[in-house]
Every structure is written in structure tokens, then in C-alpha cells.
């Protein structure tokens, strides 16, 4: 709808946001969601107006004073077909339009920067790939597709950022993902929207959207020394994973280099793409995920590694994939604190393809 008149659109949204009737639009997706929302509101208003107008005018025209004797009418197939088919058509338009947006929100672009979020009663813990931890807040740069990989440690939570129009349930025992690309720097609400017990209403936080320069500064200022993958590497060593998962020819387990994103043939038949969810499952329930050609000897690590530990392991294994590492590096190089000097000049140029990558207007 925004193509009809950008000026009116801007005016409408700004005005409504200003009067606290509408949340600010701070992500690339928000205007697309709002276009559908305004379409729905428009259809509703028209529908409501038709009903109210008809009821009012009939009430006046055919009140008992004016129209003492009713005329019996059986019905009208034509009319009834009209108000069956028109709403049906409109609903189908909404369905298709809504489904398109739904896909967009839950299909992260391949080059998105991944941040892990763990929900627990009653806080959000965010793990940046660079090893930065945050509780109840999330710092993100503008102009960059950010993918969140969510999991809950206990009950259902829901990670909601109204200003970005995104929301995703954090489920116990399973990764879910959502992505966004922030456009306007500022501080926005983060809510847990799924009722999760006593302090549900305190499970809130701030989404801090920074310009790439500020984000770089923030990253540099809050680093914990080791990146997430490095933590994972340490854990990988302390759990002796490398005893089996190595590159020796007599290795008892498959090598994990380049395993992320690969299509694996399973010993139970069938193939599977090794994504985050698969890696997590393979650590916790290995016997259901045996790669073809290997014996089912891997023990389960359920109860031995925390969700954060698993995240570190998953990130480590992902970083063993050279494609992934290269892609993430090129993708985020201008954001890395140490690269400030050399990429400051070319950052805007590098940003454009990344920004255009995910979303087609």
C-alpha cells in the first residue's frame, strides 16, 4: 500500500506513532507488516460501516411508524452469494498476503548474523558470536540482517519486539528462529509475551539499536575475552569430543569440519540437513542421528551441558565450516571492533548488498 502515496503513508504512521496509537516502525519488515495491517483495518472499517449503515437506515426506513406492515421476503440467493463470495475473496487475499509476510519473518536470509537467546524464568540471556553476554537487553546494529536462535531452559517464553513487528516463541528443548533488520537507532521494548509464571511481567528488556559505528564501540567495550566459538572449542576439548570426532582415518565418529549446512545420510535411512537444531539434537539424542557408516556409540550429553554450553558447541561446530566462517567474517567484518581502521571507508559500500539481500520490496 505504501506505493500509493509515500507522503500520506509517512504522515499516517508518524502521526499515529506520535499519538501512541501505533508502535514505531524500526525494522525493514515493519512497513510491510503495517501495509497488511492497514489493509485489514480498512476492510474492517468498510465492513463495519456497511453493516452499521444498513442497520441504521433499515431501522429508520422500516421502523414500525413508517412501515407498519412487514413485507415477507424469503431470501435472495443472489444477495447471499454476493456476501459469501466477496468476504471469501477478501479473506483469501488476506491469507495469501499474510502467508507471504509470515514466510518472510521466519525465513532468515543466509547471510544473517546469528545471535543466540536463551529464555528462562524470568530473564532473557543473549549470546553474541563475539562472546558478549547480555541479560534482558540486546544490542544490534542497523542495516544488518540479524537472526535470533531462541531456546527456553524451562517453560514457554515468547520473544517479542513490537517496534520490529516480530515475535517468536522460545520453546523448551527446541531451537526456533526469527530474524529482523533494524533501521532506526533507538531503544525499543522487548517483552516476554507468553505467560511464564510469577514474574512474567518483569521479563522485559531493551532492544538497543545502534549505528554500525556505535555498535562497534559497544562490541569492543563489552567483550568477555573469548568468542562464543572459542568457548565452544574449550568445551569441546573438555568433553573430549575430539577423541572420536577427529580427522584421523580410524576416527570413531565423523569429522565435524564442514558438517554444518551439509546434507548428511543417516544410518536410519534418509538424509538431513545439519542445521542448528540438528546439531543440538545430535548432542543430546545422538542415537537418533547416527551418520551413515558410524556405530551408534556416542553417549548422550543430556543433563551434562547447559543450554549455553550447547549453544557454544553448536557455534563452534558451525565455525568449523569454512564457508560459514568466511561468510560470517565478510559479512560482519566492518562490525568487528579491531577492523575499525581499515574498513571505515568502505563500510557503506559493503552494507548495500547485505541490506538488500534478505528482503525484496
Amino acid at each position: 500500500m505504501s506505493h500509493i502515496s509515500p507522503i500520506i503513508w509517512q504522515f499516517l504512521v508518524k502521526w499515529m506513532t506520535n499519538f501512541a496509537l501505533f508502535p514505531p516502525e524500526a525494522s525493514r519488515l515493519a512497513p510491510q507488516m503495517d501495509a497488511l495491517l492497514f489493509f485489514l483495518i480498512l476492510v474492517s472499517l468498510i465492513g463495519l460501516t456497511i453493516v452499521v449503515l444498513l442497520v441504521t437506515s433499515f431501522s429508520i426506513l422500516y421502523s414500525k411508524q413508517r412501515h407498519p406492515v412487514a413485507e415477507q421476503i424469503e431470501g435472495s440467493t443472489l444477495l447471499e452469494a454476493t456476501w459469501t463470495i466477496i468476504p471469501l475473496g477478501l479473506f483469501l487475499v488476506m491469507f495469501v498476503w499474510g502467508a507471504l509476510i509470515y514466510f518472510r519473518v521466519y525465513t532468515p536470509p543466509a547471510n544473517a548474523m546469528n545471535i543466540y537467546v536463551v529464555g528462562k524464568q524470568w530473564m532473557w540471556k543473549a549470546e553474541h558470536p563475539g562472546g558478549q553476554h547480555e541479560i534482558n537487553s540486546l544490542h544490534v546494529p542497523t542495516g544488518r540482517a540479524i537472526q535470533l536462535t531462541l531456546i527456553s531452559q524451562d517453560v514457554f517464553h515468547s520473544f517479542s519486539i513490537p517496534a520490529f513487528r516480530v515475535k517468536r516463541e522460545a520453546i523448551p528443548g527446541r531451537y526456533t528462529t526469527v530474524w529482523f533488520e533494524a533501521t532506526v537507532p533507538g531503544t525499543y521494548h522487548l517483552f516476554c509475551t507468553q505467560y511464564c509464571g510469577t514474574n512474567h511481567s518483569q521479563m522485559i528488556g531493551d532492544i538497543v539499536v545502534l549505528t554500525p559505528e556505535d555498535y562497534r564501540k559497544w562490541l569492543a567495550g563489552s567483550t568477555s575475552g573469548a568468542s562464543l566459538a572459542q568457548n565452544g572449542e574449550r568445551l569441546f576439548a573438555s568433553l573430549s569430543c575430539a577423541a572420536c570426532h577427529n580427522t584421523r582415518p580410524d576416527a570413531r565418529g565423523p569429522s565435524l569440519a564442514n558438517v554444518y549446512g551439509a546434507k548428511l545420510a543417516l544410518s536410519s535411512g534418509g538424509t538431513v540437513t545439519a542445521d542448528d537444531a540438528y546439531l543440538r539434537e545430535a548432542i543430546l539424542n545422538p542415537s537418533q542421528h547416527i551418520t551413515q557408516g558410524y556405530a551408534p556409540i556416542m553417549p548422550t550429553y543430556q543433563g551434562q551441558v547447559s543450554e549455553e554450553g550447547i549453544i557454544a558447541l553448536v557455534e563452534y561446530i558451525k565455525n568449523l565450516n569454512s564457508d560459514y566462517r568466511i561468510q560470517q567474517t565478510t559479512n560482519t567484518v566492518d562490525l568487528l571492533p579491531e577492523s575499525e581502521g581499515k574498513t571505515a571507508g568502505q563500510a557503506p559500500a559493503a552494507k548495500v548488498p547485505a541490506a538488500q539481500g534478505g528482503v525484496k520490496q
Binding site: A20, L21, F22, M33, L37, L40, S44, G47, L48, L54, V55, F58, S59, Y62, S63, K64, Q65, H67, A70, E71, Q72, I73, E74, G75, S76, L79, E80, T84, P87, L88, F91, M94, F95, W97, G98, A99, L100, I101, Y102, F103, V105, D154, V155, F156, S158, P162, A163, V166, K167, E169, I171, P172, R174, F191, T193, Q194, Y195, G197, T198, S201
Partner: protein
């Protein structure tokens, strides 16, 4: 003769008397009520108990609104607030909305409308009231002894492992109330199939009966799935079986599948009987046959059938597969169509009618407006894309209150006023009740419309405290709630008053065509002295005119 702006025709008040023998005074004493098999007396028992639970739930709603007056959790602690909204939901849904119209008006009217002496299974009917009371008392008891803070949805694993409140007893209360609802529905289906008077074919049934038939199907087939889900939650909580427990390999989403398999059709259980009431009221006060009777009748059945196919739209963001989201979103769009058909058919029933504006009609107009808004906002949530932004916020809260309170409660009040003369033999006072209808409408909109905006802004539901910028809309909402409270208290007062001082209504104060209006008010215990024969269509006002002419002729 009669005033031009009303259809009410009452007998001469100086000579009129309540019939000497009727179901109310046939037998006396508390025991004659508690052991009755008479569907009309059971309906009255239900009416009293449902009103009681409505005001308990309403008081809890008042507490919620008061707490939300300020952004901080200052009136009560957050866990108290959680218990209050959980009990509000549980009581309102399982002990008010589900049984409201079916168990009171349906119980009273279905046998009368189809020309039967009673429901097919009077003892089961009484049993269902006792089950309802047992469940209700248990729910009140759990509330008094600490309450429950899972929300009415009992979401696992919160309800099984992470709260230490009275989940078991509340679950048991809901379980018992569920069986009460199953027995009511079962009784209606059997009655409508087997007890119709001669000549009462399916397409001569009042639409009220059709709507109850559709709702009963949902009660019978949906409720047991809720029962087994609750049993599994209870087993998981007590002995720790692992069906929903993610740490043991269970899937917590499975609980939601089972829960919503009932709880989505349950909203149709709640709204369909209300739609039945609206059909009767609109037809009577516009003196016209319902526009497209067949379409309205079949749309009820269509809603009931499609109602079983859409439950996962409550779970779009919860991690169901994206393919399932597509399917369920599409089916949700289909189930929205019959509701749209109904709204337009009612609207066109007014066309070329002869409309008067007594209280039931005002409530019916209120229903049409509010239900249209409630239904359209439902489409916002059935559209998978916008659901992401709007679900689990106050938009949801506003949406289902528009449907349930704006729709069902309006319909319930319309029905209570409409059939009050039949139930008691006396009229309610017209002016004050019209005022109550208007007050309710205004209060309702003031309460719940701001919540749509709150939801758009992203305010999550079930929050005891909230960011301060949402306060102004919450203040509006709380202010509206106080007006709404007055709107609901008024009917109780004047309806009780009318039991003694109301005008004598006579058989057919509204000049309506249903069989229930052709007998005395209040009816005899056995309803019909002679077996009625249905020899005219439903809503045949010309037949009614001919009847009057005949009566005059025979008297003259």
C-alpha cells in the same frame, strides 16, 4: 389500538392474572427444586447459579482492571494478579460462557420450541446441573485455598512442573464441568432428533434450535479431548509420566494441540447459541421471517464442522510446522465466511420489516456491531503474518472479549429479556432496561476498544505491570469497566424487582410465532396440554395473524 412504536401487547392489567397452575408453583419447597426433572426448573437453577459465577468472575475482572490502572504492580503482588486473571478466565469460560445460553435458555426453550414435554433425558439434565455445581464449588474452593496461576490455558510445562498452586483441583473442577457440558449437549441432540412434535420438520425448526444443535455437536465431540488433556496434565503433575515433559522426551506442544482441539470449538460452543438468540430476536422485532433461513441454519452447522479444522491457529508462533500454519490459516479464513453470512442475513432481515426497538432488539443491535468488530479482528489473527505481531498482546484480549462479552453476553441479555415474560409470566420494566442496554454498550466499547490499540502497540497480555506509556489507554479501559459493571448490575436489580411488580405478560407479549409463545406464561410443567402440530413454517407472521382473526371470530 396499540401504540405505534411497540409490538408489546399485554392483557388488561386490571383483570389479568398469572395462570393459577404453572411450573413454578406446581410443587413447593426447596427439595421439589433440587430433585426436579423439569427442564424449565433446571433452567432456572442454572440461571441462578450462572449469574452467581458471572458476578464472581466479574469481580475478578474488576480487580484486574483496578490493578492495571497504574503501570506498577501496586494493588496486588504479581503472583496474586496472575491468580486473579487465571481464575477470571477459568470461571468466566467454563462456568459462565460455555453453559450460559445453552443451559439456561436452551434448556428452557428447546422442548417448548419443538413441541416436546421435556428434554429426552430429564435425570441426565439434572445430573448435569449437579456436575456443574460440583465443578463450580470446587473452583471456588480452590480459589479460596490459594487459587491457581497457570492462566486458563494450563500451558505445559508451566502447569505440570513450574507452579505450585492448585492445578490439580482446578483441573478436576474443569473436568467435572466438562462432563456437565457433554451431558447438556448430548441431551439436546437426542431431544432435537427424537422429540419433535408432529409436523416439526428440520426446516421448520426455529434457528435457535439449529444453533443449539450445532453447538451441541461441538460439546459432545470436543469436550472429551479437553478431558483427556487435563487427565494427562494431572498424571504428569502427580506421578510424573512423560507425555508432555520435554526433559523426558515428550512434546509440550502436543498438550496445546489437544487443548485447542477443544478450546477452539469451545468458542463456537459459546457463540453459536448466542447467534440463535439473535435470530429469534431480530425476526420477532422486525416482524419478518429471517432472511435466508436455510443459509443461516446451514451456516451454524458449517461453523460447527469447520470449527474442528482450525485449532492450530492459536499456535502460529509456537513452533508448529510452517506448512501446518499455511493449512490452518487457510481453513481459518473459510470458517470466517459463515459468520459473515449470518451478519448480513440478519441485517437484511430488517429490510422491509416493521421494526420496533424494545430492549432485546437493542441488545441484538449491540451484538451485531460488536460481533462484527470481534469477527473482523479475528481475521487479523487468522492471517498468519499479522498474527505474529498481534498474538499474545492485548489485541487478543480485546478480540475475544468483543466476541465473547460483546457477542455472547449481549446475546444472553437479549435472550433473557426476550424470554423473561415466558419464564416468569411478568414483563421487565422497559425504560430502565433500555437504559441498561445503552449503558452496557457504551461501557463495553470504552473498556475494550482501547485494548485493541494497546495490542497494536505491543502491550503483552497477562502483565501485572507495564511500561508507563500504556497507562492512558489502560485508564480509559478501567473507566469503561466501571460503567460496564453498572450496566450488568442494573438488569439483576430490575429483573428481580419485576418478579413481583412487573406487568402480567400474557401468553404472547411480543406477538412471536414460536411454539413457546402459543402456550401460557409461565408454562405448565408438562408444557403442552395437547400435542401441538406444526402446520406452518417457522417465523410465519401471517399464520399468527390468521390465528388471531380465527380466535376473535370464534369468540365473537
Amino acid at each position: 389500538m396499540s401504540p405505534v412504536n411497540t409490538i408489546v401487547s399485554l392483557p388488561d392489567q386490571s383483570t389479568a392474572r398469572i395462570p393459577r397452575v404453572n411450573y413454578l408453583n406446581k410443587e413447593n419447597g426447596l427439595l421439589s427444586w433440587l430433585l426436579t426433572g423439569d427442564h424449565k426448573r433446571i433452567a432456572i437453577l442454572y440461571l441462578i447459579s450462572i449469574t452467581f459465577f458471572f458476578f464472581i468472575g466479574g469481580a475478578l475482572a474488576g480487580l484486574i482492571r483496578l490493578e492495571l490502572l497504574t503501570p506498577q504492580a501496586d494493588l496486588m503482588a504479581t503472583d496474586t494478579y496472575n491468580k486473579v486473571f487465571s481464575m477470571h478466565g477459568i470461571i468466566m469460560i467454563f462456568f459462565f460462557l460455555v453453559p450460559s445460553v445453552p443451559a439456561t435458555l436452551g434448556n428452557f426453550l428447546i422442548p417448548l420450541m419443538i413441541g416436546a414435554k421435556d428434554l429426552a433425558l430429564p435425570k441426565i439434565n439434572l445430573l448435569s446441573w449437579y456436575l456443574y455445581m460440583a465443578g463450580g464449588i470446587l473452583a471456588i474452593y480452590t480459589m479460596a485455598t490459594g487459587g491457581v496461576d497457570t492462566g486458563w490455558t494450563f500451558t505445559t510445562p508451566l502447569s505440570t512442573h513450574y507452579v505450585n498452586t492448585n492445578v490439580l483441583t482446578t483441573g478436576l473442577a474443569v473436568f467435572i464441568a466438562g462432563f456437565s457440558s457433554i451431558f447438556t449437549g448430548l441431551n439436546f441432540i437426542v431431544t432435537i432428533h427424537k422429540m419433535r412434535a408432529p409436523g416439526m420438520t428440520w426446516f421448520k425448526l426455529p434457528l435457535f434450535v439449529w444453533a443449539h444443535y450445532a453447538a451441541s455437536i461441538l460439546m459432545v465431540l470436543g469436550t472429551p479431548v479437553l478431558a483427556i488433556a487435563i487427565v494427562l496434565v494431572a498424571l504428569e503433575r502427580t506421578i510424573g509420566i512423560g507425555v508432555f515433559d520435554p526433559t523426558k522426551g515428550g512434546d509440550p506442544l502436543l498438550f496445546q494441540h489437544l487443548f485447542w482441539f477443544y478450546s477452539h470449538p469451545a468458542v463456537y460452543i459459546m457463540i453459536l447459541p448466542g447467534m440463535g438468540v439473535i435470530s429469534e430476536v431480530i425476526s420477532t422485532f422486525s416482524r419478518k421471517r429471517v432472511f435466508g433461513y436455510t443459509a443461516v441454519a446451514f451456516s451454524s452447522v458449517a461453523i460447527a464442522v469447520f470449527g474442528f479444522f482450525v485449532w492450530a491457529h492459536h499456535m502460529f508462533i509456537m513452533g508448529v510446522s510452517n506448512y501446518a500454519v499455511l493449512v490452518f490459516s487457510l481453513l481459518t479464513m473459510l470458517v470466517a465466511v459463515p459468520s459473515a453470512i449470518k451478519i448480513f442475513n440478519w441485517t437484511f432481515t430488517l429490510y422491509k420489516g416493521s421494526i420496533t426497538f424494545e430492549t432485546p432488539m437493542l441488545y441484538a443491535f449491540g451484538f451485531m456491531g460488536l460481533f462484527t468488530i470481534g469477527g473482523m479482528t479475528g481475521v487479523f489473527l487468522g492471517t498468519s503474518g499479522t498474527d505474529i505481531h498481534l498474538t499474545e498482546t492485548y489485541f487478543i484480549v480485546a478480540h475475544f472479549h468483543f466476541v465473547m462479552v460483546g457477542g455472547m453476553l449481549m446475546a444472553f441479555l437479549a435472550g433473557i429479556h426476550f424470554w423473561w415474560p415466558k419464564m416468569t409470566g411478568r414483563m421487565y420494566p422497559e425504560k430502565i432496561s433500555q437504559l441498561a442496554a445503552v449503558v452496557t454498550f457504551i461501557g463495553f466499547n470504552l473498556t475494550f476498544f482501547p485494548q485493541f490499540i494497546l495490542g497494536m502497540l505491543g502491550m503483552p497480555r497477562r502483565y501485572a505491570s507495564y511500561p508507563p506509556e500504556f497507562q492512558i489507554l489502560n485508564v480509559f479501559s478501567t473507566a469503561g469497566a466501571s460503567i460496564l459493571g453498572v450496566g450488568y448490575l442494573l438488569p439483576v436489580l430490575y429483573l428481580v424487582w419485576s418478579l413481583k411488580y412487573g406487568e402480567i405478560a400474557g401468553n404472547n407479549p411480543w406477538q412471536a410465532t414460536g411454539l413457546e409463545w402459543q402456550i401460557q406464561s409461565p408454562p405448565l410443567t408438562e408444557n403442552f396440554v395437547v400435542m401441538p402440530i406444526m402446520d406452518h413454517e417457522a417465523y410465519d407472521y401471517e399464520w399468527l395473524e390468521r390465528q388471531k382473526v380465527k380466535e376473535v371470530a370464534s369468540v365473537g
